[in-house]
């Protein structure tokens, strides 16, 4: 156990849900993952979720390490596959509150197909996607969210691929709750998490987060504070924005807010309906 600061000695409600015996954590100074973990804990407390009912599932990468720091039933799975693992948990025990907490490269690039199909099936889970625009764990390579012309170690002359607009992808795939915040908007994020947890269906929350060590350093924002200032200058809250219009580029504003909140039958509700009909007809 490392030395605790006077502040943590006083204790707070979050500590109960953190593995303090694993501190210090691996996250870099200025990294956005830690604050998002805190927001998630505050969010589920606000939503009144029983911590015993939570299954916290991560994939691989910096954000994927979140599972190792929460004192909840937590699963650190393989690269890109947190969502199908979570799907198995949820369908085998529908009483579980399943959250997938991982990064953009994990969820959207290598795991994109699972993201699409979990949204399409409307599996009743919350997916928190930390988007830091690059693969931080491996030292700052480009991924499907890297903005056009951004510098990464594998786009040394500038990224020439078109990035994925995650809220637009999720809206097209069938997610029933979609929001985006930055790590400057932790209160809004917490509220959004609580709201998503309060409804049924596949919820997707994108959190634009700093990676000062690699992405920030290569793109002229080498300190966490630089990123915060950037978010302050660039972000615009626009609830109900058309997801098609919220793509992120180097120079454009970062549109944040709640983009979609609709109610559709979940996978399990839809299955129940079909099976009930089959029973009525004597086919089951």
């Amino acid at each position: 156990m490392t030395t605790t600061s006077p502040k943590t000695d006083q204790g707070n409600s979050l500590q109960r849900f953190l593995r303090l015996d694993r501190m210090p954590h691996i996250f870099c100074s200025g990294c956005g993952v830690g604050p998002v973990i805190s927001s998630y804990i505050r969010g589920f407390l606000k939503a009144g979720i029983d911590p015993d009912s939570i299954a916290f599932v991560s994939g691989i990468g910096c954000s994927g390490r979140a599972a190792g720091y929460v004192k909840l039933d937590s699963f650190h799975t393989t690269h890109g596959r947190a969502i199908p693992f979570a799907t198995g948990l949820k369908l085998a025990n529908p009483k579980l509150n399943v959250v997938v907490f991982s990064g953009d490269g994990d969820l959207a690039t290598i795991g994109g197909n699972h993201l699409i199909h979990a949204a399409r099936r409307n599996i009743d889970i919350l997916c928190i996607c930390i988007n830091n625009f690059n693969y931080g764990m491996t030292g700052g390579q480009m991924g499907c969210t890297t903005p056009w012309n951004a510098l990464t170690t594998t786009s040394p002359y500038g990224n020439f691929e078109t990035p994925t607009n995650l809220p637009y992808l999720m809206a097209a795939s069938g997610a029933t709750y979609i929001s985006r915040w930055t790590t400057l908007h932790l209160r809004e994020l917490e509220g959004s998490i609580a709201e998503a947890l309060g409804k049924r269906g596949f919820s997707f929350i994108e959190v634009v987060a700093p990676c000062p060590t690699v992405y920030g350093r290569l793109n002229k924002r080498p300190r966490g504070l630089d990123e915060m200032l950037y978010y302050q200058q660039k972000s615009i809250v626009r609830h109900g924005a058309d997801p098609k219009e919220v793509g992120i580029s180097l120079d454009s504003p970062i549109i944040v807010g709640k983009f979609l909140d609709v109610q559709c039958p979940t996978y399990l509700e839809s299955r129940q309906k079909i099976l009930d009909k089959a029973r009525e007809k004597g086919r089951l």
């Binding site: 299954a55 004192k71 909840l72 039933d73 799975t77 393989t78 948990l89 089951l284």
Partner: protein, 383 residues
């Protein structure tokens, strides 16, 4: 009385269907899969049957998803299975390794078809036997069973579930297309509680519990599942007894030796095989799956010609039955290993044969060996 929705009695069905029924009798209540010839009938049967027993069938978007979904279901406390064939089996490998690392009970069925690549989708092979053993990266041990009849498809699927629950490891049912698609009589017995093995639950309090402590000194930690309040962590990273990632050679040494040891040290409990006319045999045919049945005819014919031939039919191919092969090698003149691949399990037999002549009867797949091919090899060896 059979449990609600499980079958009991005499049936005529194909191997894929018998596998699905074996799973249901074993208590499997979750199936995730992706259609692939020649394993699709398993998924179809599960889609039909699981809703009848309050189970869950889900058709996933690919085999990587299927493999992960059954791991997740198992961690929610439900017995889970997936089925596939060559290309899908290849896609499952990384997450089979995750299953080994997290020590997740589950069953993976491979109805083998001829490859590599798309190969002959509707036609038989037994060419994934080494992939079953070594396909995921890293050092590990796995259990794989090989049914030779529709009855064994049923029986060994139950056994696969029981072994996976007992040893907390994914168990592979390595059948072949011939057994998967062949139809014959199946007797489904009344399943008694003693026939079914369930994973060990934690006995210590929730505050004291760690997921990978060898509480019972049998190398198999008791398993809590999600939602019970244990607040455990599990990871595919090398971890300590708390389930916490530890990036050292020492942690790797301790973990891998236990994961490997729990299978190797229990090989006597895990391995089953059948023998046919081996009492006085000096030519031993070692085969599995459909090839074991073809070998019987060749052995009968060899006996008619005065050759003392016998069969060792492997029902468990991994861990390999090296002890029995070593015993037989003391009196054998030769081992003959017919298999529908270009020589895989023959390498294991040769390793254990202690210099006794070991003959491969390979076949690239698409059809089965003619009994004559095996008989010729027996005759040649007996000369």
């Amino acid at each position: 009385m059979a449990e609600k929705g499980t079958l009991c009695g005499e049936y005529f069905m194909n191997g894929d269907t018998a596998c699905a029924e074996g799973a249901i009798s074993a208590g499997c209540r979750f199936f995730a899969g992706y259609p692939i010839t020649p394993a699709t009938e398993i998924a179809e049967r599960m889609a039909d049957r699981l809703p009848q027993v309050d189970g869950t069938y889900i058709q996933m978007e690919d085999e990587m998803a299927s493999m992960n979904a059954i791991l997740g279901a198992s961690w929610a406390g439900v017995k889970a299975m997936t089925s596939t064939s060559g290309p899908g089996f290849s896609l499952m490998m990384e997450n089979l390794g995750l299953g080994v690392m997290l020590e997740t009970p589950c069953v993976v069925v491979n109805i083998q078809r001829a490859g590599p690549s798309t190969g002959l989708p509707t036609m038989v092979a037994q060419a994934d036997m080494m992939q079953a053993r070594w396909g995921a990266h890293g050092s590990y041990e796995i259990i794989a069973v090989t049914p030779s009849s529709i009855q064994e498809m049923f029986d060994l699927t139950i056994r696969a579930f029981n072994l996976s629950e007992k040893y907390r490891v994914p168990v592979l049912v390595m059948a072949d297309e011939a057994i998967g698609h062949m139809s014959e009589k199946l007797v489904i017995p009344e399943i008694k509680p003693g026939d079914i093995v369930n994973r060990k639950k934690p006995k210590v309090s929730k505050d004291e519990y760690w997921p990978y402590v060898d509480y019972d000194n049998d190398l198999v930690p008791p398993m809590a599942v999600a939602g019970e309040g244990y607040h455990f962590h599990t990871t595919g990273l090398t971890h300590d007894e708390r389930g916490y990632p530890i990036m050292t050679a020492e942690a790797q040494d301790k973990l891998i030796r236990r994961l490997v040891g729990k299978i190797r040290l229990n090989h006597k409990d895990i391995i089953t095989l059948k023998e046919f006319r081996t009492e006085d045999a000096d030519i031993i045919v070692c085969a599995y799956g459909i090839t074991a049945r073809i070998s019987r005819l060749a052995i009968d014919q060899a006996r008619e010609n005065g050759i003392k031939a016998g069969l060792v039919q492997l029902q468990t191919v991994w861990p390999f039955a090296e002890e029995r092969i070593r015993e037989l090698a003391r009196h054998a003149k030769a081992f003959i290993v017919p298999e529908i691949n270009m020589g895989q399990i023959v390498l294991e037999v040769e390793r254990c044969a202690g210099g006794v002549k070991t003959v491969s009867v390979p076949h690239p797949g698409g059809t089965v060996q003619q009994p004559q091919m095996i008989l010729d090899a027996i005759r040649e060896a007996a000369r």
